[in-house]
Symmetry: D2
Subunit: 138 residues, 4 copies
């Protein structure tokens, strides 16, 4: 049976510098929104901030991303970033996300990030330890 | 006697993509922090959002900026952006700002922005009307 | 038989503000590298710049992206962005890309972008005309 | 008599992600253009790349910036960034700059950056050595 992992929500607001020539949030910025939400959720919900994680000598880096653009966000919009782990094992984890506009709860973008763990000194990938897998298995 | 204008505070948080190779907020990003705070304050405190302002056919554009870097912000930091008008007349306005780290109330950056009003259709500067000057003279 | 479309190469250089806390090009920036290369290639190789395209009242907007990170780019690196159309029809087109480091010709990232055409006035998707399909079918 | 220092020119091109809601290069991006030009000029003209400088354990960080916006750059524009040292001593240096649009040689922005040297380990300012002052005194 497939394990179900918890999902978490973070609310952010579009920054004026996120807007591009089409008067919408620039497409690459959505990746930054997911990253920002995920960092906050690591600290608040998993009890392990990225800062602490980096002090331990590790980093999570993105191996692959898919993102689907449904409806654009615009200037002044507030939005919810919901993320959750879809799967995690010693090779890494897949985090799925949805971004919804707070004013109408409609979907802006969804997709997934595949992360691997790296050793910050060598810059190379390392196996995700059992301890880490447990930490994220909520 | 010199008129004193109101000052307003907005709290924001560093986004991971704001961090640069020195592990601090990248120096150009502070301009975006001031801009974001100013947009919010236009809506909340002056009752005229940038969106409404643009619907009327106008934009505020930056003519000149000075920014002084005192202490860097880092990953996860929350900060207060305080801005206020120093002077306003038909030629434009000067907005002064201070950014302080919420965790210790120490000054990160300060400086000023000179703004002029433009007509969005022509892209050219226009005189700030009495109505606009009054709107901002709180 | 599947049609083969031409591929084009553009050389760019990492900008210092592209570097993030891991001392590498930030992951969302690669999308901007592909976009920049594609804009240049529209002008140089298809004879239809994005500026002209927008003057005609149209825009290409991204519907979906997949990007795979193989090796990071760092400060001062020059790189080649190779893009090409994989398929195009009235619903839109898929552009595939590879970014390679100029100093060793090794792959940094690859992936694809699905684009749709929009009418800039309405912001809505429109069918890609035969004329446009022919323009890109080189 | 005031010493005159050499000036250097670098040509860059606007990236599509640099464009903001006013269809011009976003105001904070000009700081990144100057930074990028300066990094290139350090390597090409002073024979000391930022990468080498950082390997020696030092960084140049910005203490203060003034930037004056004259004419905006737009999508597809190529521009020249000319920079030069105005003054340098053990406390730091002031770099002045001009950005001009290559298509008409008209001034887009000008201004100055005050830099101080930091020790990357401590993050604190250090005196600029005679050796460094000589290196930049061309």
């Amino acid at each position: 049976m497939k394990k179900e992992y918890a999902k978490f929500k973070t609310t952010h607001k579009v920054r004026p510098d996120d807007i591009d020539m089409f008067n919408h949030v620039h497409n690459s910025i959505y990746l930054d929104y997911v990253l920002a939400a995920r960092y906050e959720q690591m600290e608040l919900f998993y009890g392990m901030s990225m800062e602490k994680f980096m002090e331990m000598g590790y980093g999570w880096v993105v191996q692959s991303v898919q993102i689907n653009y449904k409806r654009p966000l615009g200037l002044g919009d507030k939005f919810i970033v919901e993320t959750g782990i879809e799967s995690i094992n010693k090779k890494g984890c897949r985090v799925i996300f949805e971004i919804k506009n707070l004013k109408n709860n409609k979907l802006n973008t969804d997709g997934w990030f595949d992360f691997i763990m790296i050793d910050l000194k060598t810059g190379r990938g390392v196996a995700v330890s059992e301890e880490m897998i447990n930490l994220y298995s909520i």
